[in-house]
Symmetry: C2
Subunit: 681 residues, 2 copies
Amino acid sequence: MHTIKITDRFFTNYRNLVRDKMIPYQYKVLNDEIAVNIERERNDNSIPNEKSHCLENFRIAAGLKKGEHYGWQFQDSDVYKWLEAVSYSLIEKPDDNLKAIADSVVDLIAQAQEDDGYISTYFQLKCPERKFKDLAWSHELYCAGHLMEAAAAYYEATGSEKVLAVARKNADCICRYFGTGKGQTRGFDGHEEVEIGLMRLYHLTGDESYLQTAVYFLDERGRNPNIFIEQSAAEHGGKPDLSGILSFPKTYFQIHKPVIEQDTAEGHAVRMMYLATAMADVALTAGNTKLYEACKKIWRNVVDRRMYITGGVGSTVIGESFTFDYDLPNDAMYCETCASVALMFFARNMLLNEARGEYADVMERALYNTVLDGMALDGRHFFYVNPLEVTPEASAKDPGKSHVKPVRPEWLGCACCPPNLARLLASLDRYAFHEKDGIVFADLFMNAKAEFTGLTVEEETEYPWQGNVTFRLKTTTARKDAQPGCGARVFAVRIPGWTVNSGEKVRITVNDNPLIADDVICGKAAMLKDGYLYLTGPFEDDILKLEFAMPVIKMSAHPAVRADNGKIAVMRGPLVYALESIDNGTGLNRLFLRDDTAFTWQFRTDLLNGMCIIKGKGYRIPDGDDAVGPEHPAEDSQAPLYAPYSPGVETKAECVELTWIPYFAWANRGINEMSVWIRQK
Amino acid sequence: MHTIKITDRFFTNYRNLVRDKMIPYQYKVLNDEIAVNIERERNDNSIPNEKSHCLENFRIAAGLKKGEHYGWQFQDSDVYKWLEAVSYSLIEKPDDNLKAIADSVVDLIAQAQEDDGYISTYFQLKCPERKFKDLAWSHELYCAGHLMEAAAAYYEATGSEKVLAVARKNADCICRYFGTGKGQTRGFDGHEEVEIGLMRLYHLTGDESYLQTAVYFLDERGRNPNIFIEQSAAEHGGKPDLSGILSFPKTYFQIHKPVIEQDTAEGHAVRMMYLATAMADVALTAGNTKLYEACKKIWRNVVDRRMYITGGVGSTVIGESFTFDYDLPNDAMYCETCASVALMFFARNMLLNEARGEYADVMERALYNTVLDGMALDGRHFFYVNPLEVTPEASAKDPGKSHVKPVRPEWLGCACCPPNLARLLASLDRYAFHEKDGIVFADLFMNAKAEFTGLTVEEETEYPWQGNVTFRLKTTTARKDAQPGCGARVFAVRIPGWTVNSGEKVRITVNDNPLIADDVICGKAAMLKDGYLYLTGPFEDDILKLEFAMPVIKMSAHPAVRADNGKIAVMRGPLVYALESIDNGTGLNRLFLRDDTAFTWQFRTDLLNGMCIIKGKGYRIPDGDDAVGPEHPAEDSQAPLYAPYSPGVETKAECVELTWIPYFAWANRGINEMSVWIRQK
């Protein structure tokens, strides 16, 4: 057991927004208390968008109100994700009022639950005869998984047995129903998540049936790629219900082959990442090395070939899906906030399997870029889609880009992302450190005070703006003599992968004595391995300091990434930077860099709640007649669309000072163009 | 009256394919005689794709067969477009067998026609009660327009009164039904075309009611932008039938404002171009200068801002539509063959209004590039969509590009393009010359023998491979003394707009005497105006020679075209060239040019039926580990996705000899990558 208190200024701001704005706001939305300008993510009339109705659905299912279900099959999950975020918030800062509201929600969920443990207000109210019979789209198990996660978190926060009992009763119902045993039904949810929830309940309760059912769901998936079509056909008089199954490829649901054989990230990105998250947990928990090998293959595919520089995943809006290796369009992609949250889940579980810095590097990349981008600086507006290049006119006039919003909407018709973001940010301490085999690992950097069995850690940093991190380490008396494996006598800290980009060495000192190499430092054994520095205690108020040089770096993509050929992106530390036209004028596509760019950076307290911006020399190709020679002088004397290329044309480019802001902070100053990638001559 | 005989080797090949392959093949398809591997253009189950059933629909409507209608609302138009192509073919080369088949089709159409002149097998067989009541989608008038065009052509070819009577009876029915008069119904077709057909009938018959109704349809369009919604609502008990009307913007149908006020090309590209074609015809015929002004605005918008270098139009698959200025993505566009055929119609009608070379230039650009690209060199496979960049993996795995086929399918579920292409190629003589006010204009270049009132012209050229054109001109005795306006004593020849790109002067001689300036040449008045050289006769076997320098030219796009920033396309004469990976290796995106490219070209008789190819020096960025530095060495030691930009990276690029082929000839050697635009350093 451990306690971690985040005192970080950068994240506290976000965590406070979650606690003070998002959680109360979301409750009002769930309870239909406030009119919300709900934005449709696409021109799709089938998407419910007038109200949330979430709690009302529970009240009706509980018999407390009359009425009909409204919303998606997965509407319930919004409540569960809210409850999970509330739990973390209560751990961080107890709040009796909030707990009272949450308790009332728990009561409501309990009242809506059926005697056998089943709960899905959609199916209970709309079509009870179809329970567990439309697994491709039903999201019943998906919702159940979120209930389990929320219940575990709420129990940990408050000790509430009630919500845990509800979740266990639901889990028991699922464990009875599904499986290969006599009288059991074979199947699994079209949207992975219950596997994560079951594992969470298993870790909390030790009930083996939860682990077994999670293993079963993973094992069953992809064995029969036609399972959903066959189920649908069986249930609809021999003809599969075409709505939604046949129109999606099997990869959409990750049912194209057994999960253990899957070696590329396919289909719906959130589904894929949830699946991988569960696989990595089961691999570790059950000691299944084959499953971990599959996880590693999927990881390599995502990280080496299918991930945006921002940690976004999902290259197409159609099916919100992965596409193929190196296909990473910047202006038409999906990069759902939820998918990057889920990539963090996956990365964290990989890290628990094996302490490799690259797992935490990706966690960091996703967090500081796409995940934070999901939320406006006011905590009240949210992106579902996180593009790397936006032209507002394209969003308005190219229907293929109507999902790419140039500013964050107030709420979303399919409201999965804001609560996912809330629970992630509220539980950030779980990503800052992890413990394994008597070693405490510092994975992400933030100001924090943490007590582990045998070790207290105080961390101070100005991350992500500065690359300095200081740890004050103290072995607690009880454990001073403990051996590795019996308590935290070894402290490990990640050396971020991006530090190699600067070409400068990381400076490490213990009590002001520099670490030269893998060696003893200040009387303590030190070792660098797989992106972590291991330092062996005991510690007595020892000060470990790390300094990562944080120059501004031009990054390029693998040459197979067509969308980025001939372009660079600017990074500093873990942050990807972006150009907005509010700072750089319209027509960002007319800008380019040469090799003469000298970057400077400065922290601007007056900008966007305090932000480190970057300035650098760029060039702007003139618009209009100067740029290209005349072919047919048009009547309005504008430049022709096509004209002979003139080798000297770019010598006419105007030299301009460009301003980059952190990618996650774009679109906080109204509608304008944005671009992460810029041409490099 | 005139006769024009095309003897051109380049086009005769295509025209023979149309006559010998396409026309018989299409007849068998229309008649369900052959099993066709019909390719769906998208993953849309609603598209009929098992058979054509076109003639069967007519037989059933005629009462000759029992059965149900099968296919689209506009299925009939395939028959009419086929008949129109047959007509031109019969003019070119009489063929009794073909005429007998066509006569039998005419008989069938006549038998299917109702007593009042109405004909649409879809509505006659499926829902007679809804005739003219679903105008947004019914295509009844659209089909009628094609019937009128076919009838006029078949009458001109064969003197058949029968088909003309059918078309006139249908036109009369439409003229009675629609209008603002008492007892008439207001409305127009969601897909423009009947306006073109009515004008064609008017030009042939002089019947003023056809002109008036065409004028009415144009005038009515866009007056009430809600007309389709209101009609649908009135017909469906107050609720508009949502299928297809509300889901499309008003611009899709060009009903967002009165046509005379429309100054940008909006919506479905074929619809837009058909509308503009009719507008330009009515403007000239009715002497409506305001309408011509509107045409010129639309023209400028298309040509200066919304047209691909290949003469393709339609930037998005969604609604097969125009999007916004300078939005010209190369890999996800539509560029339907039909839309470029229609752009040629529009350009030709603009040329008839005013002899400006740029109208013919666009006609030429569309013809030699997108239109010819619509057909394989075997005359049996067809593109609907004509992309400028194709990655086969993207077509297969990115659902947003599933409409972009890497090879031409054998037939298409919506078979509008092949017959449109057939009628265009079969009637190419109508685009080669035009006559106005006593002047004969040579607009496109091809070997031909033409007799006009007062003038015979023999043209010889190796166009488009060489820029030499020779005309032998002879004023016929009867007209030798005629004044301008009373017979063709003046001959005008277009000086292609692309000739200015070479920087070399066009060499012009008459009987080997060079033309120096606007002056008398060899005793004949000569004048250059708006892209045409005017030469005043009389002529007595005078030889006019033009030599256009045809160097290989790198073209660049207006800097506002995001998709083409930093790239060039290669042209020679009217032809746009493309790179295919079969010649240049896979990964065309890794290629780039510097300013040191020295192009050579050669005619290769052994390649693609004889083709002029271009060679030039390029560079290939290495793939894999050499290209970028290591960040995290991946386990399979592949290059990381993102790594610091290295200024020297492109100095490692390998120098390669690149091979370009004419764009229209790509995809004739199996599935491979293609790109028109290439990076220019």
